[in-house]
Symmetry: C2
Subunit: 371 residues, 2 copies
């Protein structure tokens, strides 16, 4: 295993609930606290394990909600207290990643940070590490760098990054500027992108010197930047942190880092990208989860659940079992079944995106107890 | 309401589990103990209520397994002790109905009995009563009489009875002899039968003088008949019943009354039939249950369950909820979902008949705890 990268700090924003994975994902059991691959480990733990060789175990920070503190510390028993950054309420990715950048920059001015979501699935350790090493080299040159996934199929489920001019950075042979960001395309466009090879999936990974990242926020969101500075300056003082958080955090603008940093930086030629040649999935819904666990067999019923007692006959799709019940599935195709103690979901891969609507409807109809 | 029919005794064999309705029906919660129509009453209770005006509350006997005694008495609080005939183990319909015939004939030699399954659904009180009154008139003339259901569609799910020559019996204007029995037909044949009108569904209802019915058994199954006589003779003697049951019951041949009585009697011109113009269903599987509860709307998700908490969106089929869980069903057609505390079934109407195979497989794979 390689040595950790010097001056590098990994940041794991562990935020979103993953509404499209209800009733598996819940407010009190968000997506990153689940094992979605049958590995026996949560996505958060997998993310940590993937980053430890790159950053070192004492140089990985997690940004998460107060409600998840205990669960995060249980999953990551090695994490130092000072590396758990608690949000009093969710305020989107600029606030989360910006908080980490500000605190770490305050502690260590030259630090390069890399932000990696807690709830993505990645397979291919060496290619991941190679991509991060390149991105850090590019970041040291003053760019904000993202890792774009080299598409393995013409997906319509992800946004795309169009590569621009090549960069000449030592240790980053594949680095280019980002020409533009593209929203989720239709299938024909996705096929063009796939054939073209100069379009990569936007996986939301950002690597930058903390001061460079904060500079981008300062330029585009000055009052958000000022708030982050106030927080960072007080953070490591036990007595001052609480009052400042209470005063500042609720005022921070809710804005995704794509809009506060990535797109403006791309427009000014300050956003770079390196391709990631590893398997990646954000496991956005049950269709994606089914595919991820199918082992490539479309006629297969994938089963997730330690205690699953399943009798399946000519069934395909995915079954998530969180109870001890016997489950029999007969003659259904591309089915999605999620069996939990207090809620049951039955749908199909085709309708997987509609699960978010279910969650909204449950809220509206007073059944929020199961969310 | 009419007066009860003189000399008439109703018999309710409450036997079969209804394996095709697993996991709703169980060994300890057989089909007849369920409310399958949303009426708030079990099928057994509905059967009782339907027969009470015809027989009188003290003249309805139930033949059931020892294990179901308490449940039956709870459902039918008015039933006299002496009218609950307990089987020590199930030995098919000739033994069950023959036992009732033998006991009642011993008590009351001229009695006419009518046997009506505990787990069928019937709608149409007056037409049902008219059919039974006609059948009793025919039975008094010395025939075994069955009630055949006038088909409401070309069903391939039932056996058929072909009507023969008309009978001239006072009070039974529609009675005919039975020409023959026909096994479940293919769809083309079912369409012919439906158009023909001289074919009726075999609903397994038999009305006869008890001595006539026993005479048929004597002729076709003499040793079974002898056993029934031994049982009847000792039955009402508290001290003798137990030992005789223990000795005789396990020796009785397991044979359906269709083969021991109906078919031989038909062949000899001693089986009559009157048509039933009421809605009838034996609720043999979940496809049938879905249809029964759909209210005629094929795009409808029928829901059975007192405490059901369901959020359905573009779903059709049937959902049986026996738990308090929130159930969300999205974008599935003709689905069958049965949600119970220890078992969950997901299939489609098309595959409803395969549920029996699930039960067999559960037995074989050591999961009989949920059967």
């Amino acid at each position: 295993m390689a040595e950790p990268i010097e001056d590098f700090y990994a940041v794991i924003p562990a935020g979103g609930i993953g509404s499209r994975l209800w009733p598996l994902s819940r407010a009190d059991a968000p997506k990153f606290l689940h094992d979605l691959t049958g590995s026996g480990r949560t996505l958060l733990r997998d993310t940590w394990d993937r980053l430890e060789p790159l950053a070192g175990r004492d140089r990985i920070a997690v940004v998460t909600g107060r409600a998840h503190r205990a669960a995060v510390e249980k999953e990551l028993p090695g994490i130092p207290d000072r590396n758990v950054f608690l949000e009093s309420e969710p305020r989107e990715s600029t606030a989360a990643i910006g908080l980490a950048a500000a605190i770490l920059s305050h502690r260590e001015p030259d630090v390069v940070i890399g932000s990696f979501a807690a709830d993505h699935v990645i397979r291919g350790t060496r290619t991941f590490e190679f991509a991060v090493q390149q991105a850090v080299a590019v970041a040291r040159d003053g760019y904000v760098c993202t890792i774009g996934i080299q598409p393995s199929e013409p997906s319509v489920g992800f946004g795309y990054i169009q590569k621009g001019d090549e960069l000449d950075v030592d240790g980053a042979p594949e680095a280019t500027l980002v020409q533009s960001f593209v929203e989720k395309p239709d299938l024909d466009t996705a096929r063009e992108y796939y054939a073209d090879r100069s379009y990569l999936w936007n996986a939301g990974m950002f690597i930058a010197r903390a001061d460079v990242l904060l500079g981008e926020i300062a330029e585009n969101e000055p009052s958000l930047y000022a708030g982050l500075m106030d927080l960072a300056e007080a953070w490591d003082d036990r007595d001052r942190r609480g009052p400042v958080v209470d005063r500042v955090w609720p005022t921070l603008r809710k804005i995704a880092i794509d809009y506060s940093v990535a797109e403006p930086a791309a427009a000014r030629g300050r956003l770079a990208v390196v391709p990631g040649h590893f398997d990646w999935d954000d496991v956005g819904d049950f269709a994606s989860l089914a595919k991820l666990n199918s082992g490539g067999r479309s006629e297969h019923l994938a089963i997730l659940g330690e205690h699953a007692r399943v009798l399946a006959d000519t069934a395909s799709g995915i079954l998530v079992s969180q109870t001890h019940r016997v489950i029999s599935v007969v003659g259904v195709k591309d089915i999605v079944i999620v069996d939990t103690d207090d809620a049951l979901l039955v749908t199909t891969s085709e309708h997987a995106q509609r699960v978010k609507g279910v969650v909204d409807a449950l809220k509206l109809t007073g059944r929020g107890d199961v969310l």
